[in-house]
Amino acid sequence: MTTPFMEVRGVSKHFGGVRAVDHVDCDVNGGEVVGLLGHNGAGKTVLVKLICGVYQPDEGEVFVHGKKVSFTKPRDAQEAGIETIHQTLALADNIDAPSNLFLGRELMTRWGTLDSQRMDHEARQIIARLNPNFTQITRPVRAMSGGQRQTVAIARALYFNARILIMDEPCAALGPSETRMVMDTVRRLKDHGIGIFLISHDMHDVFEVCDRVTVLKNGRVVGTQKVAEVTQDDVLGMIILGKNPAPKVAA
């Protein structure tokens, strides 16, 4: 058996008396999409922030390619090849797409100044691959549509050659065609052997691209199932009732 790209073992996080994440186990392999599902407040976003170094777990361990890691800040996770697309997109509205794309990891000239032209050029190329209609990238992000903002956030995750990608509700604010663009991107990345955690509320999207789903309720894992072996109703039962589907009786 191969080591998972990323494995989370018994991770917990408390906020005061609230156990936001309670002994959670989950993992993702290369070329696999794992859906993280659950109600609002189930602990998905906190789990994401634990994996990408924003929060530090109170208990438990995280392994990347079989090696134990402990991230103290987002940069640590980025350097370990983990890119995160946050639910809020984490874009600074007042600066343009290339500046956001390279925020925190700017390309510099020989003299230690910002290499704006190269950043513009690189940003233009990667954004054109994702969304060919999106050419006006040097405007403040504030002036962009939801899909364009999402494109910038995805481009930022892809540019730095992530091996593991965490997408927190990437389609929440998007129209149908933009959702299609994101789903196609997810599929393409999966084919390139990237491991993806996908958080979504849309059962249709989940069943379209995910290989497995891990369902959370009240901070705990209800169960992990292979998508091919369950129905949408089974998964909804896990989310709402916290009940695993009855095992199919082997004939």
């Binding site: 924003v54 800040k73 987002p74 940069r75 980025q78 995160t84 946050h86 809020t88 997109l89 984490a90 874009l91 600074a92 509205d93 007042n94 600066i95 500046s99 956001n100 925020l103 925190g104 990891r105 700017e106 510099m108 230690g112 100044t113 910002l114 032209q117 513009d120 050029h121 504030r142």
Partner: protein
């Protein structure tokens, strides 16, 4: 027309601010019977503007990053007092080292205070408004304690030059050379930018418009140099015994250096980019792996250094250190920054705007002094102008749908 404006790269807000300033000058010239536009008054105006403008440049960074500093006036007094104390009490009168060391002392105090205030804001989460309000009280008190309330004088003659007084300018020849260099720089930059835009296949603005713009900039530079050169300096005479012109004042050169460096930092360095990103969305900056606390501390340190520079200019100009220096300066600095188009909500700001804002405030102040308006009335009017500027911004932004 609007499309043409946006393509020309002319910032409509900045342009209208310049036009408003020009209008003010014409009105004041008419009201004062031309006294306002005499070289002597404009030379004084240029010096008066420097102290506020230098600190306003730092305030732009702070306000872009959603912070504020109410302590700059008190900090100016504290750093200035330390500079004066060093020269008067620690070194023999006329010692060539005293004034050099005193500048380092002032800047060091500015840096320490910046670290102190920045640490409370960034690491302890106390709002900048509260920390710097406390600083406003503390540093004014500390300035008093430096010399037990006494005024410290006199200061070294070379040091006094930094204030723009006697010998405090660079003369006709150097001013002219500098003006020519500045014009050459403006031309070269425009040309380099056009070449770059061409290379990246961006549509170029029409050549006549660019020529007009560069023409205006160079005309402004030439006009400034000519006016400064035509203010006679009684202490210098040419071979025939006529006084020569003063030329550009040294504090103005200090201001230009500050503007140049801070504009470069804002546009071309990581630090500048992070300041703007933090102002736009602090959470995004943090999630992008930026050490946002360090960024905040650095901005406060920068403000401390600039307050020290302002303290040096002020003491040099007064030829003494008094603990009452810089009173109300923090409010003038914030007003200049806001009039210059920096948003209190963060994320938006311009250094050149803040400098023009400072010139506008000093113009009103100076003009009304010439018109013999009482200082109480001056304050009322400057307050109204501040409201008008912010109102204009809000109105304009609503119309533009931003």
């Amino acid at each position: 027309m609007r499309a043409l404006l946006s393509r020309s790269g002319l910032d409509p807000r900045f342009t209208s601010m310049l036009l408003a300033l020009l209008l003010m000058w014409l009105v004041l010239a008419a009201l004062t019977g031309g006294i306002f536009l005499t070289p002597r008054n404009l030379y004084n105006l240029s010096i008066q503007t420097c102290v506020i403008a230098v600190m306003a440049c730092g305030m732009v960074y702070l306000m872009v990053a959603r912070q504020i500093d109410l302590s700059v006036g008190s900090l100016l007094a504290l750093t200035g007092m330390f500079a004066a104390y060093t020269q008067v009490e620690l070194f023999a009168p006329g010692s060539p080292w005293g004034w050099i060391v005193s500048i380092f002392v002032a800047v060091a105090i500015g840096i320490l205070v910046g670290i102190f205030q920045g640490w409370w804001v960034a690491y302890q989460g106390v709002p900048a408004f509260v920390v710097t309000l406390a600083g406003y009280l503390m540093f004014r008190g500390a300035a008093f304690m430096v010399s037990d309330g006494q005024t410290l004088a006199p200061l070294h003659p070379i040091y006094q030059m930094l204030g723009g007084g006697i010998n405090g300018s660079i003369g006709v020849v150097a001013s002219s050379c500098l003006g020519a260099l500045a014009c050459a720089y403006v031309l070269w930059r425009r040309w380099a930018q056009r070449r770059e835009m061409h290379r990246y296949a961006v549509q170029l603005p029409p050549l006549w418009l660019e020529a007009l713009k560069v023409g205006f900039q160079c005309a402004a530079i030439v006009a400034f140099v000519v006016v400064m050169n035509s203010y006679p300096d009684p202490t210098h005479a040419d071979a025939q015994g006529h006084p020569t012109g003063k030329g550009i004042a040294i504090p103005v050169l200090i201001l230009l250096l500050v503007v140049f460096v801070l504009t470069f930092v804002a546009e071309r360095t990581r630090f500048g980019r992070y300041v703007f990103a933090y102002g736009g969305n602090p959470e995004a900056a943090l999630l992008s792996g930026i050490n946002t606390r360090m960024v905040i501390i650095k901005i406060f340190v920068m403000m401390g250094v600039l307050a020290a520079v302002a303290g040096v200019i002020t003491t040099a100009r007064l030829n003494s250190g008094a603990n009452s220096m810089g009173q109300l300066a923090e409010l003038y600095v914030i007003a200049a920054t806001v009039i210059g188009g920096t948003s209190l909500a963060g994320g938006v700001g311009s250094i050149q705007g803040a400098v023009v804002g400072a010139i506008i405030i000093q113009t009103l102040d100076n003009g009304m002094v010439l018109l013999d308006v009482a200082s109480a009335k001056r304050q009322v009017l400057i307050g109204l102008v501040l409201i008008a500027a912010v109102w204009f911004d809000a109105f304009y932004n609503r119309k533009e749908g931003r």
